[in-house]
């Protein structure tokens, strides 16, 4: 279990990370969402003990993260960390050794992972000969090479084509099934929405939202109704007591209820009206972001 407590980091006088706290349960996937420069990478670098936090601490299974347990952590840096002049194999050996692995294990794991991605032929190619997407794959492979318990992926999907994104997703979900804890960041909302159960939204170094995705969606969705039909004014007035009504077009209404127990009340009120559609809305993460931050999320 990864626990982050009151993490703060200054760059000069700028507060890059401002009092960030969150928890990741074992076997969960946490998606960290934020714009470029929001402080995602800085948080990751502090988790990995590359940067030292000005305040706060990072605990993994109740233990402070240092180099003694870093062998159990896999990391995919955002910036790309492959050395051009090395071959893929040499690169794996170099980084694998950094995780105290034996050459034999590195070789086996590497080929296993290369096969999973279907890029075995790259094993002896030099890094500089690879495309950006393939480099990303190799980085991903390296972060999984030592079979870590905690995997931290900083922008894993950047530079990938949709097919490769699917590959990545599949493998991440497989890893989850194996009981690994995964933390990944993205600036693209839909990717976070698709993959993870827990979401952490960061804006200007501050945590804006930290919750379980399903839970919050239920929370939000259950309060919003989409109604189409001819509703008399008197009924509308009665509904307005339970929440706000947003009129969209002639016969369409979006009703935001203050309390979700009122859904049945509203339904009862509409009993006499000519209703063609009555649905409880499934809100997107973007709407939640809009609601929490006040501005629209821009990618």
């Amino acid at each position: 279990m990864l626990e982050i407590k009151n993490l703060t980091k200054y760059f000069g006088i700028k507060k890059a990370v401002d009092n960030v706290s969150f928890k990741v349960e074992e076997g969960h996937i946490l998606g960290v969402l934020g714009k470029n420069g929001a402080g995602k990478s800085t948080i990751f670098r502090m988790i990995l003990n590359i940067l030292e936090p000005d305040e706060g601490e990072v605990l993994y299974n109740g233990q402070k993260i240092d180099h003694s347990i870093s062998d159990r952590i896999g990391y995919l840096p955002e910036v790309g960390s492959l050395i051009d002049s090395y071959t893929v194999y040499e690169q794996c050996i170099y980084y694998g050794k950094m995780k105290s692995m034996k050459s034999e294990d590195i070789k086996n794991n590497m080929f296993e992972l290369l096969e999973q991605f279907g890029i075995v032929e790259y094993a002896n190619m030099k890094i500089k000969e690879l495309s950006k997407g393939n480099k990303q794959k190799i980085q991903f492979i390296i972060s999984l090479l030592h079979n870590p318990d905690l995997i931290i992926l900083d922008e894993p999907f950047s530079g990938l084509d949709p097919v490769s994104v699917e590959y990545f997703k599949r493998i991440i979900l497989q890893l989850k099934e194996q009981g690994k804890t995964i933390v990944f960041s993205s600036h693209i909302m839909s990717q976070v929405e698709m993959l993870c159960e827990d979401v952490l939204i960061i804006n200007d170094g501050k945590v804006v939202l930290d919750c379980n995705l399903e839970q919050i969606k239920q929370e939000y969705s259950s309060k919003t109704l989409d109604i189409t039909g001819i509703i008399p004014e008197s009924t509308l007035k009665q509904i307005a007591i339970f929440g706000t009504i947003d009129r969209k077009g002639n016969n369409r209404y979006i009703v935001n209820l203050a309390n979700k127990e009122r859904i049945s009340d509203v339904f009862r009120l509409l009993y006499t009206s000519e209703i063609t559609k009555f649905s409880v809305l499934n809100v997107s993460l973007n709407d939640i972001f809009l609601d929490k931050v006040g501005t629209k999320y821009e990618e």
Binding site: K14, H67, P77, Y94, Y95, K97
Partner: protein, 753 residues
């Protein structure tokens, strides 16, 4: 666990640096160089023997009145072909220029202290095998003499052990320096520099590479900073060790080949090869060991420093440049050592202090040890301090290293990124661009001035070397005239080439068609400015010569140029061309058109001041500096006001011509009188006009509105802003180099005067 990681990095680095093709090529080259270098004499001799004359014989003349060793020598050498041995009464008569290259003069006498005293004289170096043979025979003779003597004391035994003392004299002045000992010493120095440079460069490259590729991000998650630095530096140190071992192997191979050569050359049965161990004394071994130990530790410390500096780099080109600091430091230390520590003088207190300071001790301790000026305690103290500074350097390096290596932004962007906010206005961004442009202009001007100075100085030096051979070939004009003509050409070229460089960057102007009247007007304007400038020039001249005299600087520069040494009409004309006409044309082109043209958009005042500074600088002596600066400002004003080149050219010609004429015709009294009076007359007329003009200007200023207009023109804030922006012209490093160069030349010229 952690140590295995350090090991993994070291292993990885070592593999990378040794499997490298450049490592192989380098070592092959080193092997060849070592073998050829150490066997140079032998190879040369071998080639000579084969090519020139196979029947040429080695002649040995022996002066041995008491017949101490001749019989033995004759016995030995007469068996050989190609060698003749002859006994002579005195070798003195052979000791002259006609001595054959393949002749050895040997003088053997009895000596009270050493039993045998011998001297060998040859014209050039001869095959060492002959000399060794002679030495061997003489030693055996000496041994025999000693064994005949029955009363042996301890000292005598020691004398027995030592070889026969032989004075070695080489008559010919061109001494071949292929002696293995000097080469060996040179080699040690080169090895130190070569390996150190290689090592620092490698550290710089590998760290820079890891930073550029961002692989550091991954590695630092697995290993802590200190271990990372240690592993990187150790791997490089090991490369050094491996390289060192290789070098020693090469040396041994080369020595063995050398011994093979010598036995082949004499071609006697059972000839002994050189005993390698005898060539290296105990002291040399101590020197080598000390050098090795100190070098390893020092290289480690320097490696740590280097890694911090390389961590700051933001691109791979900078990584190479980052070694400059340490390499320069090492070069300085080496120079200091060669200056301070020599067998000829006692070592001073500075050397003792420096010998305990880390890094410096690498150079001082071994060389002081070699000449016997450092005892064991001193060596130990230095070593302890050196070893103690290893962990210290690591502790000090850790934090800056980590901060620097994770900082991917380059310095200029840093302010924008965090601390200062980006100003998103167009004006701000434009100002930034302007600053860069200004800096570029500074670069061009600075570079062109450096080019000019170097061209003048270097071509002058070349000319002074080659003037004699040239004048010997060209006989139809005198040496002086050739010299003057060449000086003219050099001067013109050395100013014109930098001008061409500047010209490429001058923004092009549109030339407007002018009517006849306008042309006439501009000519009148030019003439007016010329006439007005002459008296001002005279005043400046007077003030400056007074000031220079007061300060006590060198007198008239024209004196120093030695103008009076030349005689003849042609020479006078050439001097006039060189000192008056050429500067008037080319200096004006370079300064007023080139430098001022480039700085035109920075404002006329700024352009004038900078151009005057440059103008003063290129005169390369302090005496002329002030005068040139003030006149430069005057010329700058004339140039901006008239917008033409020729007025300043004429003024320059008048100024320089005046001095030359004074110098050339000082003995023609009538002419000089007329000349001086006419100059005074022109000055007087100019003064009158000047005063009249000033009067008119002052009268105009009394008008209140014009004062207001003038005040607006001289808006303090705007001027301040302009100045700060313009100062970016000087931000370029070439200006600093330029200033340094000029300062050195200033002092040099001042010494000459």
């Amino acid at each position: 666990m952690k140590n295995s990681k350090v090991g993994a990095i070291v292993k990885n680095e070592l593999e990378k640096s040794i499997k490298n093709k450049w490592f192989v090529i380098l070592n092959l080259l080193l092997l060849i160089v070592t073998i050829v270098g150490l066997n140079f004499g032998n190879i040369k001799a071998l080639l000579k023997r084969n090519n020139v004359d196979l029947s040429s014989k080695m002649e040995i003349y022996v002066e041995d009145i008491e017949n101490i060793a001749y019989t033995e020598l004759a016995k030995e050498f007469l068996e050989q072909e190609n060698v003749t041995i002859q006994k002579v009464d005195s070798i003195e008569k052979y000791k002259n220029e006609s001595l054959s290259k393949d002749a050895i003069l040997l003088k053997v006498e009895k000596s009270k202290t050493e039993y045998i005293k011998a001297s060998i004289i040859t014209k050039e170096t001869v095959l060492s095998s002959y000399l060794e043979k002679i030495e061997k025979i003489l030693t055996s003779v000496k041994d025999k003499m000693l064994s005949e003597n029955k009363n042996l004391t301890k000292e005598e035994i020691e004398i027995i052990k030592s070889g026969a003392s032989i004075d070695r004299v080489i008559l010919s002045e061109t001494i071949d320096t292929s002696e293995s000992t000097t080469l060996g010493q040179l080699f040690t120095t080169y090895i130190i520099f070569f390996v150190l440079l290689l090592c620092l460069n490698k550290i710089a490259n590998t760290i820079s590479q890891e930073k550029m590729s961002k692989s550091i991000e991954y590695i630092l998650t697995s290993i802590n900073t200190k271990e990372y630095i240690v592993s990187k530096v150790i791997s490089m140190c090991l490369t050094v060790v491996i390289q060192f071992v290789f070098m020693i192997t090469y040396l041994v191979i080369a020595l063995m080949i050398s011994s093979l050569f010598s036995s082949a050359a004499i071609n006697i049965e059972g000839a002994n090869s050189i005993d390698i161990s005898s060539m290296i004394s105990l002291k040399t071994i101590g020197y080598l060991v000390l050098t090795f130990v100190f070098m390893c530790i020092t290289t480690f410390i320097q490696g740590v420093i280097q890694s911090v500096m390389s961590a700051k780099t933001t691109n791979i080109q900078e990584a190479g440049n980052a070694t400059v600091f340490l390499v320069t430091l090492n070069l300085i230390l080496y120079t200091v050592v060669t200056a301070l520590v020599s067998p000829l003088k006692t070592v001073g207190i500075i050397s003792y202090i420096l010998s305990v300071i880390p890094i410096a001790s690498m150079y001082f301790i071994p060389s002081m040890f070699l000449i016997g000026q450092a005892n064991i305690i001193q060596v130990i103290i230095a070593l302890v301090i050196l070893i103690a500074s290893v962990p210290l350097s690591l502790i000090l390096a850790e934090k800056p290293f980590k901060n620097a290596i994770l900082d991917y932004t380059n310095k200029k962007n840093k302010k924008i990124d965090g601390i200062e906010k980006i100003i998103a206005t167009r004006e701000y961004q434009e100002r930034m661009i302007n600053r860069k442009e200004s800096s570029k202009k500074g670069l061009i001007i600075g570079f062109s001035v450096i080019l000019l100075i170097i061209l003048q100085v270097v071509s002058g030096l070349i000319l002074s070397v080659f003037i004699e051979p040239i004048s010997q070939k060209i006989t139809f004009i005198s040496r002086d005239n050739i010299y003057l003509v060449l000086m003219c050409v050099i001067f013109a070229l050395s100013v014109y080439l930098p001008y061409l460089l500047l010209k490429a960057y001058i923004p092009k102007e549109h030339k407007e068609e002018k009517t006849k009247e306008e042309k006439k007007e501009s000519i009148i304007k030019c003439v007016k400015y010329i006439v007005l400038s002459i008296p001002i020039m005279s005043v400046i001249q007077m003030i400056c010569s007074f000031a220079v005299e007061k300060i006590g600087l060198g007198s008239d520069v024209t004196d120093a140029l030695g103008l009076f040494n030349y005689s003849g009409k042609l020479a006078s004309v050439l001097i006039f061309v060189q000192i008056a006409i050429l500067p008037a044309i080319f200096e004006e082109l370079f300064i007023r058109k080139g430098v001022m043209g480039i700085l035109k958009d920075k404002g006329a005042i700024f352009a004038t001041i900078v151009s005057s500074i440059v103008f003063a600088t290129i005169h390369l002596n302090i005496s002329q500096f002030m005068f040139a600066f003030l006149v430069g400002i005057l010329f700058g004003i004339v140039r901006t006001k008239t917008g033409k080149m020729y007025p300043t050219m004429i003024l320059h010609l008048i100024n320089n011509g005046f001095a030359v004429i004074q110098a050339l015709f000082y003995d023609k009294i009538v002419f000089m009188d007329i000349f001086t009076y006419s100059v005074i007359a022109v000055n007087a007329v100019g003064f009158c006009i000047l005063i009249y003009m000033l009067y008119k200007k002052v009268m105009e200023l009394k008008d209140k509105e014009s004062i207001k207009a003038l005040k607006e023109k001289l808006d303090y804030r705007k001027i301040k802003l302009d100045i700060t922006e313009n100062m970016f012209v000087f931000k370029d490093y070439t200006f600093m180099v330029c200033a340094l160069l000029c300062a050195i030349l200033f002092t040099a010229v001042e010494r000459m005067l």
